[in-house]
Symmetry: C2
Subunit: 331 residues, 2 copies
């Protein structure tokens, strides 16, 4: 492989190989190597970065501005930190409409307010027409971790229940429908949202939650395969418990896609203490972004490193990292 | 003005208007509004972000990887903080060579080591061929501020001496020469470098230094005009004291450019206590990146908000923010 493929950006196996074989060898940081959504620094600071190249920049349920705030806020939340400060860096293609820029900035502002974060620094670059695609946004973020609140895949234990905070695949399919001009699921909108309030309602007191991850690129399946591998845990999820909207299921069947591998932008997967799982579900359901929360599986003592799906007819299927290109530029 | 112009990214007056009129109105953060190189958070953390779109990605004296680390490190240094952690987010055009990517990452690694910072989180996006220009890199950075070490334009006082850490315009002219295939100053290389060691040698003990800024886009003239305006100080600099390499002066004369407005990537402008200026110059000269350091002017009690250049023949010229396009994509 001598050159970058679109699939290298897909959140699947090729991306994972590129990161491990090419990128990580240059940066020998024990924090970076953990590949968690945020780096947790010894000063009890969580630090994360994400560049957004979503296409189209306006989509049902949001735009690149809302997405850039929500995506970075959710990455901070996944470390157990309280999101506090966000940077906003714009790369804009010459000729981009200032009206559209304002709409995007307004979305970012509203989402930052909802999420309880402050945008404190920024940067702006303009490149010639044809040298970027409308607008790319990088947001980096800082959160603060209170004693005992840090989360990590290292805290996952056998017996933990696995919770999905809601229906999966909404973001990916809604972007796809807009991009391809598909009409058959026009009611579907992206789940794009920051989950500060949802997380606040369940991540206190500490100890109940072991690990959070947000199933963005690579989807629920991708994130669970990665967690199984990197924590060397056995994971089992049940197909019939996984919440999927009818529109998403229908679109996936028509297009030959698997909802398990479709991106989400307002969902969280939680690994929680077995005995607290039902209480956590109850608390999540009180939040708009958690109303469809469900226990979808658990961590088992067998098949360490492997995620298995129990299908509706009782079969078992290994859930691996997606290989190759899924849907480019969903975030 | 309905659409984004290249000049909106130039570090001049148009960019400043876009930021003030369009961007800042959405984000009501008192920290962001200061428009310093790093945001200084109440937790004694400095936070900064920068996206790099330099063209070409390899240039005399460096590449986009080295530049991305050095640029962000220098922004953190300008707040008086000790740079500690860096994020690295890549947007890559499909088809980009993995060999080139490795070279860039290796440069970034070496520069991070030199600067004493750790790359702790990252992100990778790939866009279709023709939707970006080879590679764009965002680095954000965190530094920690010790008691009494915070710097700000608010600390500038009448009587302060203004120091330039070395020759100006090297970066901009070396990029231009590579891009345009100019041969007449082939010995010139970019000054691209992180200034951690230089700053460490002079920013301790505290109190001597009032303000640091790195004169990147917009050059020395742009940064001084901005400081004069935002701190409401009167600034006077003397043309004959400003260090400029012969190659840069020659290229500028030929091309009708003013070295004052040409970008630097390894220089710092320091506002220092009058009585300490000579000692600071001596300390700077011991560092490779400060060997051409010079006192170039001072803060005066007259013409608040305005930067004046005393020309070689004794005339006075107002140094304003550059208007319109200078040289696009130098960083």
């Amino acid at each position: 492989m001598n050159s970058i493929l679109l699939a290298h950006g897909s959140g699947g196996k090729l991306q994972s190989e590129l990161i491990e074989n090419i990128i990580l060898k240059h940066f020998n940081s024990p924090v970076l190597k953990l590949l968690e959504d945020s780096a947790v620094l010894k000063e009890k600071v969580a630090f994360t970065t994400d560049s957004f190249v979503v296409k189209p920049v306006f989509f049902p349920g949001g735009d690149i501005g809302k997405l850039a705030i929500a995506g970075t806020v959710n990455d901070i939340l996944c470390s157990g930190a309280r999101p506090a400060y966000i940077s906003l860096s714009l790369i804009i293609e010459e000729g981009f409409s200032i009206d559209k820029l304002e709409t995007i900035l307004d979305s970012a502002k509203c989402e930052a307010k909802r999420a309880g974060v402050e945008v404190v620094c920024g940067d702006l670059k303009v490149v010639e027409k044809g040298k970027a695609d409308e607008i790319f946004i990088n947001t980096s973020g800082i959160g603060f971790i209170e004693d005992g609140q840090a989360l990590s895949i290292k805290k996952i234990e056998v017996g933990d229940k696995i919770i999905a905070s809601g229906t999966i695949g909404d973001h990916g399919i809604s972007i796809l429908s807009k991009r391809e001009g598909l009409q058959f699921h026009s009611r579907l909108i992206s789940d794009c949202a920051s989950l500060s309030n949802l997380v606040k309602s369940i991540h206190n007191p500490a100890g109940k939650i072991h690990c959070f991850r947000d199933p963005t690129r690579g989807g629920l399946g991708g994130i669970l395969a990665e967690i199984a591998r990197s924590s060397n845990s056995g994971i089992e999820i049940e197909e019939e418990r996984i919440p999927v909207k009818d529109e998403v299921r229908g679109a996936c069947e028509l297009l030959g896609l698997d909802p398990l591998y479709i991106a989400n932008e307002g969902k969280i997967v939680a690994f929680v203490r077995r005995e607290d799982a039902e209480d956590i579900i109850k608390a999540m359901k009180k939040d708009e972004n958690g109303k469809d929360a469900k226990i979808i599986g658990e961590v088992v003592g067998s098949h360490p490193g492997v995620c298995l799906l129990i299908t509706k007819i009782g079969g078992k299927r290994i859930i691996d990292l997606p290989r190759g290109e899924l849907l480019p530029r969903l975030c």
